[in-house]
Amino acid sequence: MKFSIQVNEGPYQHQATDSAYQFTKAALEKGHEIFRVFFYHDGVNNGTKLTTPPQDDRNIVNRWSELAEKHDLDMVVCVAAAQRRGIVDEGEMQRNGKDAENIAPGFRISGLGQLIEAAVQADRLVVFGD
């Protein structure tokens, strides 16, 4: 079955991104397909490569990146939410005249249309967050 995942909450906030990660991992282990993981609202903060959590804590951002690499996941960060919160890729850096980018490996910035497509194309859309 084809799943899409929506994450509305930032990392280390409550528990939603942990739940979304565990759900995504379990679905992949069961042989399901993850069509897309869409990060919306504060969820876009999952996509910054600048986080440095303590070594004995889980690294939520790296964990997503590793899962994406292993399973070729499409992880999309909402552009409007990203601009507000300072999540920047190469294109956004140039377009908005910023001097740095911080998008973590495996994430890409795109629009809300990607969420609509994820909902339409997948058999189930599962939403995590506040």
Binding site: Q15, A16, Q22, A27, R124, L125, V127
Partner: protein, 101 residues
């Protein structure tokens, strides 16, 4: 059409558990996870609302129960415990997943 309702906030923090219980139709299921697992506590003020909820199957996520020290004996009877794989199965078995966030 069967719906899996998911609730992740404590009934003592937000009204989503109560709203979900009020809207879930017969044949649907509710999964309590994250802080919403507090809804399955025996003796809590919300117990009358949760216990004996007919026609709707109730589930709770095992890892989140364990993280909060909610053991079987502290749970309202009739609530089934699932793991993340079980969460995935429930999502697949129902036609839709509705998150009460």
């Amino acid at each position: 059409m069967s719906i899996l309702h998911t609730v992740n906030k404590s009934p003592f923090e937000k009204s989503s558990v109560g709203s979900c219980l009020a809207h879930a139709l017969e044949g649907s299921s509710i999964l309590f996870y994250e802080d919403a697992v507090y809804a399955v506590l025996k003796g809590a003020s919300i117990e009358p609302l949760v216990a004996g909820f007919d026609g709707v199957k109730l589930y709770a996520l095992g890892a989140d129960l364990k993280a909060r020290g909610i053991t079987d004996d502290k749970m309202i009877d009739g609530i089934e415990i699932v793991d993340y794989a079980g969460f995935v199965d429930l999502s697949a078995e129902h036609d839709k997943v509705q998150a009460w966030v």
